[in-house]
Symmetry: C2
Subunit: 160 residues, 2 copies
Amino acid sequence: MTIETQGEQRNGQGHKLVAASISQDLGFLLAKLHAAGSVLNNRALSEFDLKERSYSVLILANSGLEPTQREMADFLSLDPSQIVALVDELEKRGLVARAAGKQDRRAKIVTATAKGSRLLAQAAGAAGRAEADVLDGLSGEEAAQLKALLRKALWGALGA
Amino acid sequence: MTIETQGEQRNGQGHKLVAASISQDLGFLLAKLHAAGSVLNNRALSEFDLKERSYSVLILANSGLEPTQREMADFLSLDPSQIVALVDELEKRGLVARAAGKQDRRAKIVTATAKGSRLLAQAAGAAGRAEADVLDGLSGEEAAQLKALLRKALWGALGA
DNA sequence: ATGGATAGTTGAAAATGTCAACGATTTGTT
DNA sequence: AACAAATCGTTGACATTTTCAACTATCCAT
């Protein structure tokens, strides 16, 4: 990143609008870094026919935490109906499987198949490289700090 | 934030899926905090009939930097056609004005009117309060650090 | 001055987001 | 035990957003 933030290197150096007060706005900073990262992420994942969304679902399915679709929806900030579509597609590709919840038979627990697990391992490598690209301008320590602060903002000091 | 991250307080304490490895993924953290913040931001701005997008455009128009629509599009990571729609609406409401570029008559420079400036001042207060809400779990120093790291990731050490 | 690029604009197509309804199940109340 | 209310996944409709290809007017380089 940093060197040329997504097509705004039109004039050579960084963008003149960086001086605007919106560059101090958290929402803007999150949106912009997220947008820039999404491009790289999706590009990296396209090799595996995955997108950020399906990649996220696959990770959760592979986590061993036996998440239900509802839990995934809450956690990923998505509408439950979007999870249906994502799981449908991954299931059709044989990467995840649905199973009825043990205590609650309304719920569907989504788990990764061996094939899904294998694909995920490869995809994670590519995604990691994309993330490193985004964090190019930060030292290793700073990158860790940034992620720690994001986690803390979301879940408090205790968060993962 | 922190206390109850957007409907995922279903079971009382934080979400069990926080333990999944995706909680270490930068893209996910950015998306999630951004999603949570957007809700609060848009809620705060709705009082002024603004959304995050139009608010951003209004800020840039009011910055004194005389941005063209193309520069706004690049800077906000939006398609130029989306800027057209946003400026159209703000112009219709008398909050901004279009002027032909001085050196380049193809370009349109967008500036805030006095009315737009006044509205922005109020809206900025509400947006600031929403941002403080999002950063609830962080100390003042940590919040500043988070924003500094985001800026550095985007524009390098020199960035605004 | 001619050709090729760029700014803004328009409109269409594709992708996403939002929401209400439904059957199957669970949970709470009596 | 029986009933009412709530919840889970699913479907489908609808709105919003994104993406992209044209088009005109203008700029820039040769």
